[in-house]
């Protein structure tokens, strides 16, 4: 089911199995038939670790979505609520439970908090007079969910907002907990590096928790050599730019949720003769995207401009493979051909899907507006005209382009100029408020608080220094066979990944000056290992570094890290963990004021 998780350098299936075991143990605690009532947000992440079949094996017969009033009727012995510890959800649960008592046979209620049991929520249930109705109240420490062979995410959408706007460290605490779980399974990570305020806090919590757990930890040979904790606010620039890898573009245009994407169905209509396109499917086409699919694994991290040639090459290979059947003469040959058929058919299906997706994306990327937007972005990132009001942005506002797009561009300009001149900033803000409504004052305020939008302090622009020292802008990009990570943004090398790259070679000491300009402290901690567990590295053996992005990571950054892992003389392989997989749009959206 999840073999692709074990392909990487670190077998993340171990983690998946561990969380599955925990889930099974909980389900078995509630004997008899069960119905699960889901906090809808959790269904996506849970789908990655346990399919319905697993639940079914443990007598889960019905599934409902958590909503007010009565529960739907179900002839089961147990009702289990799977919820995040949120107060508003507790109110709904209480409503469910109270309306339940009056009818039908008595059923047992249980509640499973994901990822942490909360005293506050239990207090609320108690206040509502239903706490006693629950037989089992447990927590399910699903902090880091394996997404792919080298990718873990907490899928906690509010992490960045909570940390930077609301000074709420809950998600950092969960991140630290998740890292402890990881260390319990994969051994203590000997070295921790970090940059940023939140990184510092997570490292502190980890060290603290390690003290709490001492004595009970298992002696496991460490799988990870280093941990790099990076605050998103150290690199606010990268997510704002439009990702130009295949996977990144799919996410930018259609949005990838829990490794699934929903696409317009027209392109995927089965092509049958005489059908005349009578009944085009109306429901969106849902596809799972991960490296279990061979073709996708190959193209996901390529610059989109390099995808076409791979697809056409693949098409030739596959049709050549199908041609083989004409050459198969002997029974043995035919048998061999037939045995390969399922694989070939799967490959053909996958090729067809991705060709369709590529066509869909191409429609967007060849549009003039996309080109104009990209040009502006690239001008900003290479440091051209960042201190003036940009007419493209003005035009976008005037034409009422989506607010998120506009904000993303303004923020990008602000970040690339270490803040905007007061006059420029006020102009943009006034334009936005007049066009989109004054209620967005709060959103602008949030963006300012998060540092995405700000007046330039002291009139100095430090971005050019950073850009030059870290070589963030590369003029000679080879999109087809890249030599540098800058290919993921066709010129811009993501700052966060550059930091990771420089950490492994030659080390951060060489860039002390820039590190001081970037916000938050940078630090290094060692976690001593018992002598028996210290690793003797074989010559040529790569280090494994876990890079944890606190506040979100984009697919392009992941692609860049994968590119570094694959470099022959790189010396480091990366596993990526994050609080949430984001792109510029979802990220800005998480900072926007929600309608009341």
């Amino acid at each position: 089911m999840a073999a692709h998780l074990s392909y990487g350098r670190v077998n993340l299936n171990v983690l998946r199995e561990a969380v599955r075991r925990e889930l099974r143990e909980f389900l078995d605690k509630c004997a008899g038939s069960k119905a699960i009532v889901w906090d809808e947000y959790l269904t996506g992440p849970f789908g990655l670790i346990a399919q319905y079949s697993l639940l079914k094996e443990h007598e889960v017969e019905k599934m409902f979505t958590l909503k007010g009033s009565r529960l739907p009727a179900a002839d089961v012995k147990n009702i289990i609520f799977f919820v995040r510890p949120r107060l508003e959800l507790m109110d709904i649960i209480a409503e469910n439970v109270l309306s339940e008592d009056r009818r039908g046979p008595a059923r047992d209620f249980h509640i499973l908090f994901v990822p942490r049991r909360s005293l506050l929520c239990e207090q609320r249930l108690k206040d509502l007079g239903v706490l006693g109705s629950f037989i089992h109240r447990e927590e399910y420490g699903l902090d880091l969910i394996p997404f792919d062979g080298d990718l873990l995410s907490m899928e906690s959408e509010g992490a960045f907002r909570e940390c930077y706007l609301e000074s709420d460290q809950t998600s950092l605490y969960h991140a630290a907990k998740g890292l402890m779980t990881l260390q319990a399974l994969y051994g203590t990570i000997p070295q921790i590096f970090g940059k940023g305020e939140c990184a510092r806090q997570v490292a502190n919590m980890m060290i603290r928790m390690k003290r709490e757990f001492t004595g009970s930890q298992n002696a496991i040979f460490p799988v990870f050599d280093n941990l790099l904790l990076l605050d998103r606010n150290v690199d606010l620039l990268t997510p704002l730019a439009t990702q130009l890898t295949y996977e990144g573009l799919i996410d930018e245009i259609y949005g990838i949720q829990n490794s699934y994407v929903k696409l317009p169905p027209e392109k995927f209509a089965p092509k049958k003769q005489g059908d005349g396109g009578k009944d085009l499917p109306t429901e969106a086409k849902k596809l799972q995207l991960n490296s279990a699919e061979e073709l996708y694994a190959e193209i996901r991290d390529k610059n989109f401009n390099a995808v076409g040639s791979v697809l056409s090459k693949k098409a030739k290979v596959i049709s050549a493979a199908f041609e083989e059947r004409h050459h198969a003469k002997t029974v043995g040959e035919i048998k061999q051909f037939v045995s390969q058929l399922p694989h070939m058919q799967a490959a053909r299906g996958s090729l067809a899907n991705h060709t369709s997706i590529a066509e869909l994306i191409k429609d967007v990327t060849t549009s003039e507006d996309f080109f104009d937007k990209l040009t502006v972005e690239q001008e900003f990132m290479s440091g051209i005209d960042t201190d003036k009001v940009n007419s493209y942005i003005e035009d976008c506002i005037a034409q009422k382009h989506p607010l998120i797009k506009v904000l993303r561009l303004i923020c990008l300009q602000s970040v690339c100029n270490s803040g905007l001149k007061q006059k420029v900033l006020d102009h943009y803000k006034r334009e936005v408020l007049q066009t989109y409504g004054y209620e967005h004052l709060l959103t602008l305020h949030s963006l300012e608080k998060a540092g995405l939008l700000k007046p330039q302090a002291g009139g100095r622009n430090s971005y050019p220094t950073i850009r030059k020292t870290l070589r963030l802008w590369m003029d000679d990009v080879n999109e087809q066979s890249p030599t540098d990570i800058s290919y993921v943004y066709s010129g811009y090398a993501p700052l966060s990944v550059r930091l990771a790259q420089l950490l492994s070679r030659p080390g951060w000491r060489s860039i002390e000056e820039v590190l001081r300009i970037l916000p938050g402290p940078h630090f290094e901690e060692r976690q001593p290992l018992p002598t028996g567990l210290q690793k003797k590295r074989q010559p040529g053996e790569n280090r494994v570094t876990l890079v944890f992005f606190l506040g979100g990571v984009t697919f392009a950054e992941i692609a860049a890290l994968r590119f570094l892992s694959q470099l022959e003389d790189g010396g480091t392989e990366y596993v990526i963990a994050t609080t949430k997989l984001v792109n510029g749009a979802t990220w800005i959206e998480s900072l926007m004021e929600r309608p009341l």
């Binding site: 942490r116 005293l119 809950t170 605490y173 005037a398 803000k429 066009t435 409504g437 004021e593 009341l596």
Partner: protein
């Protein structure tokens, strides 16, 4: 070695029983044992003695002394008994002494005579008095059963979780039963009692008469009954001098033996070993001890002194004023090796090793003999096993030496059984030392487990020995050393004569950062003893905030708890403290406390107060008077709202909730151009955006005339390309072309291409000699019609390259 089997006594054909001395008792008893109430705990546990003045019906003026000794007779505690008359003593599985008083109150004492707690066996007992009581052990813990003066039984199966069960009445019971005992079947405790010739079984629901199968006739009374250690077997002693042995279910008889003694025995206990087929009962009279089994003969011992029998898992301990002995069936491995003229592989191996030490070649002969039979592995195993059952270290050593010798000739003998036996024996010898006085056998030790043994050592305050054992066995720190140190610390905090500072320092010195020590447990104990300051000092060392914070709250150190919770980063913990604080403090103090903790304050606002974060942000903006922009924007917003309301009144159309931009657009769409312009001026909408706005609105209206007029009103600040684009969007090529000619040279090519004039676009591009534009035009050349244009471009390109 000849005399090794001297203390072996055969019983029947296949079994031997032996009795050997464990200790000569260290105690100095003033009276005979029969004058005491005696209770000895199983598994080599402590012995409690209480002079029983009440039995002799003397005046209770003399206060008796309760004494507690180790199994070797070392005094552990001694205290004056100040409570009421005691009927029975017994030890619980946790080695707590239960003293059942005549009034039904049970007093619980620790091993060192420290009073723990008390409970009552029910009100009914108050009037009727307790006649007799038994303390028994089941897999659920230790239970107490009492017989009241009204001849009713009350039972509690677990004193740790006291649930009294009053057993049903036995019909027609006038006098106390001649003997009774507790059975435990299917996890239910039952009482078996004998009244005259009848036996009754009481469970919590009913009383039923039972008859043991195959009992010889003529019985008019049962004098004693005994249940085996595992509750599997039952023995009955009748007034005919007959001993009936069978299963405890009374369904099967094992054997019967007539000892021809009619005097009631003082004690009768089972003596069997787990997994052995032999069953035997030890019966004691004043001066006689008899081992009876399924054999025509019995083994007889003479008792020189008053003795007391303690049933064990694999034998019987017998102690008197001067000695402490152990009687058990000789284990198979020992029997095979030591039986006279035994040819068992183990016996040969032991012999071989001895010859080897004597440097005799016979060693080789013996070894060959074993090897020829292919029994060397078995021989080694036998020697290892037999070593475990030996009490004397020299015998253990010679058996282990033999095993080690035999091991040399085996290729692949897994060493762990040998190593483990060596370790176990070392531990056993250490605790059997009379200073410690826990005479565990190997089987008992395995049954008890090392964890429980360590607990018992801790209970005896033998911390150094316990730690040594942990270190020797390399137990994980959390189960071993840390746990023991924590117990030591808990004991330490109870020493009231030492100052807080000294205790805290001593504890921290010894425990340091030993992993897995729960400082909060120790602190809780200190708090329990009323030493709050000490508890707080100790809590400083606790690394787990989850443990630290609740205790601090309990001790009413809320502010300290709050800062600890914040330090931990666990927000849920912070909430807990906040909720607690909110109930505890008045509102003013509460906010004063929060003021110094910004994180707590923001968490409080966010979740507990339930205030919407947005409002907070807005309020923040207001309070910050310095934020002129926000203030201005808010003013504008209010101005717009007022305006919109007026417009709604005048024009009868909805304007509220529209942005300024949308308001102006709506006005234009409705044809209120004047008002629109006024509004734009009032709010100083920049020219560029106003042009875009008008352009979009007019195109939406498809008011091409007005659009053209507007385009000519003055020079467009946004150029004319947008005009072309918007016309094309509305599919009005005709209008679009009008504006295409006015587009500036920079964007002219784009505009011309938009309206589909490829030829002219090519001309412009060639004229401008712009490579990018040339290729753009080229990419638009499709079909035959544009063929000529394409050629033209190619030519221009070639020309440009020549230059």
């Amino acid at each position: 070695m000849d005399c090794y089997t001297a203390n072996w006594n055969p019983l029947g054909e296949s079994a031997f029983y032996r009795k050997y001395e464990l200790y000569s008792m260290d105690w100095d008893l003033k009276e005979e044992l029969r004058d005491y109430l005696v209770a000895a705990a199983p598994y080599g546990g402590p012995i409690a003695l209480l002079r029983n003045p009440w039995q002799k019906e003397k005046a209770a003026s003399i206060r008796p002394v309760l004494e507690i000794y180790s199994a070797s007779g070392m005094p552990l505690a001694s205290l004056l008994w100040k409570s009421g008359p005691v009927v029975s003593l017994g030890w619980s599985a946790e080695e707590e002494l239960l003293c059942v008083q005549e009034d039904g109150v049970v007093l619980v004492y620790g091993l060192h005579g420290d009073f723990r707690r008390h409970f009552s066996m029910g009100n009914e007992v108050l009037q009727n008095r307790v006649l007799d009581a038994r303390i028994f052990h089941t897999e659920f813990g230790s239970g107490v059963a009492i017989l009241t003066g009204a001849h009713r039984f009350t039972l509690s199966a677990n004193v740790g979780d006291l649930k009294l069960r009053r057993m049903p009445e036995v019909p027609g019971l006038q006098s106390a039963p001649s003997c009774w005992t507790i059975l435990c079947q299917d996890r239910v405790a039952q009482i078996l009692l004998a009244v005259g010739p009848d036996l009754y079984l009481l469970d919590h629901a009913a009383c039923s008469a039972v008859t043991p199968p195959g009992l010889a006739p003529g019985v008019s009374s049962f004098l004693q009954m005994a249940v085996s250690f595992t509750y599997r077997h039952l023995a009955l002693f009748t007034d005919t001098g007959c001993i009936w042995m069978g299963t405890a279910s009374l369904k099967e008889k094992l054997c019967e033996f007539n000892c021809n003694i009619r005097a009631p025995p003082k004690q009768m206990v089972w003596c069997s070993r787990p997994r052995s087929k032999e069953r035997a009962v030890v019966v004691a009279w004043e001066r006689r001890l008899m081992v009876v089994g399924d054999a025509p003969e019995s083994i007889q011992f003479v008792l020189d002194e008053d003795s007391y029998l303690v049933p064990e898992l694999d034998g019987v301990r017998i102690f008197s004023r001067s000695t402490h002995e152990f009687l058990h069936e000789v284990p198979v491995a020992s029997e095979e090796i030591f039986k006279i003229a035994s040819m068992a592989p183990g016996a040969l191996l032991l012999e071989a090793q001895k010859e080897y030490e004597k440097e005799s070649q016979k060693a080789d002969e013996y070894l060959r003999e074993i090897q020829e039979l292919g029994q060397l592995t078995q021989a080694v195993q036998q020697c290892i096993e037999a070593a475990g059952h030996e009490h004397r270290p020299d015998m253990q050593k010679s058996l282990l030496r033999a095993a080690s010798f035999g091991k040399c000739f085996l290729d692949r003998f897994p060493p762990d059984s040998f190593v483990r036996m060596c370790q176990d024996l070392r531990v056993l010898n250490a605790i059997r030392d009379y200073h410690i006085g826990i005479p565990l056998t190997y089987s008992q030790y395995k049954q008890l487990t090392i964890q429980v043994l360590l607990d018992r050592l801790v209970l005896r305050r033998l911390y150094p020995l316990a730690i040594q054992i942990c270190e020797y066995l390399r137990l994980p720190e959390v189960q071993g050393v840390s746990r023991i140190l924590a117990h030591w610390a808990c004991y330490k905090v109870q020493q009231k004569d030492v100052s807080d500072e000294d205790v805290a320092r001593a504890i921290n010195q010894k425990l340091g950062d030993t992993p897995g020590v729960s400082y909060s447990d120790i602190a809780a104990r200190a708090y329990g003893c009323g030493r709050t300051e000490l508890a707080i000092k100790l809590l400083e060392y606790e690394p787990r905030s989850g443990e630290q914070v609740p205790l601090l709250l309990k001790m009413k150190r809320s502010k300290l708890a709050l800062s600890k919770a914040i330090e931990s980063g666990d927000t849920d913990l912070v909430f807990t403290v906040l909720l607690h604080l909110k109930n505890e403090l008045n509102r003013g103090d509460f906010f004063m406390t929060l003021r110094n903790q910004p994180m707590a304050l923001s968490l409080y606002r966010q979740r507990i107060e339930g205030r919407v974060a947005a409002l907070q942000t807005a309020a923040d903006a207001f309070y910050k008077a310095k934020n002129e922009f926000a203030a201005k924007a808010t003013e504008d917003q209010m101005r717009l709202l007022r305006l919109q309301r007026r417009l709604e009144e005048e024009l009868g159309r909805q304007f509220l909730d529209l942005s300024l931009h949308d308001t102006v657009t709506t006005l234009i769409l409705d044809g209120h151009n004047k008002r629109a312009e006024q509004l734009a001026r009032d709010f100083r909408i920049p020219d560029k955006r106003l042009w875009w706005l008008k352009l979009t609105a007019l195109a939406d209206l498809e008011d091409w005339e007005e659009l053209e007029k507007f385009s000519k009103s003055k020079k467009s600040p946004i150029g004319y390309l947008p005009f072309v684009e918007i016309c094309m969007k509305q599919h009005n090529k005709y209008e679009a072309k009008k504006y295409a000619s006015r587009v500036g040279p920079e964007q002219k090519v784009k505009a011309l291409l938009l309206v589909g004039d490829v030829a002219q676009a090519a001309d412009v591009a060639i004229e401008r000699r712009n490579e990018a534009e040339l290729s753009l035009v080229l990419s638009h050349c499709t079909g035959a019609t544009d063929g000529a244009t394409a050629d033209k471009i190619q030519r221009a390109r070639a020309q440009a390259q020549k230059k």
